[in-house]
Assembly symmetry: C2
Homo-oligomer: 118 residues x 2
DNA sequence: TGTTCGTTTCCATAAGTCTCGAAATATGCG
DNA sequence: CGCATATTTCGAGACTTATGGAAACGAACA
């Protein structure tokens, strides 16, 4: 994700919706394994068409990614994008003074169930 | 700011707009001194009525505060709210594993121009 | 190849947001 | 009190977003 104002606005907008925020957090917690669209729709209790709309929205914002596994499309969170977003907000905190770490959750953090090490 | 999903969605939505994101960052950098509505409108190059709409939006989301100084209304960023927002996003990063500090920018950070002390 | 399953696209509708001029509302000054 | 200044509220128009049913699409399995 680029860190210009426009793309940040898009990312914030993508997360500023009940279903999408919940969905994104599900993916964050699901790690690299990700979740199939159908499973997400069921978990959220919304029709597939509605889910597809939200998935497209998050994808357009660069926050999630798509991969195919058999008949299913698996969605995963883009950890880099989330870090960039948080980084942007922190970067401008406190008048630019260094008061925050840069990337608390690195790329490697995409395997949430174990301690970050590799 | 409370950290339930609903209020987070509201905060994200408040920031998911070009003018408001810029405005919020201006206030973040302005520190406790804050900025008068008129000065903000001029800086953003938008009519007062439009600005007022955005200020109300950010206020409703709990991200900024209002104080009167003579004829002017001074707006300031709510650092606690921003920390809560970022904290919420980080909290759910990496499947809940501890990978982020809790409040990088403390309450005391509200005087950005000088070293945090009080 | 035909069928099934998972997902997306299309469509319409309902609801919300952004914008800004004009009028209304406060505050302060003389 | 009356006038000037600072900001908000009101109202209307254009635009965007959310929702879900029905149909289309694509991949895989037999």
């Amino acid at each position: 994700m680029e860190t210009n104002t426009e793309s940040i606005v898009e990312a914030l907008g993508a997360l500023a919706q009940e279903n999408r925020l919940t969905l994104f957090r599900m993916l964050i917690q699901a790690g690299n394994a990700g979740l199939a669209a159908g499973a997400i729709a069921q978990a959220l209790g919304i029709p597939n068409s509605s889910l597809s709309f939200h998935l497209a929205h998050l994808t357009r914002a660069g926050l999630i990614r798509q991969r195919r596994d058999g008949r299913s499309l698996i969605y995963t969170a883009d950890y880099e994008a989330m870090n960039a977003l948080v980084g942007f907000l922190m970067e401008n905190c406190c008048g630019g003074a260094a008061c925050a770490p840069e990337a608390p959750c690195g790329e490697d953090a995409a395997q949430p169930q174990r301690k970050v090490s590799a």
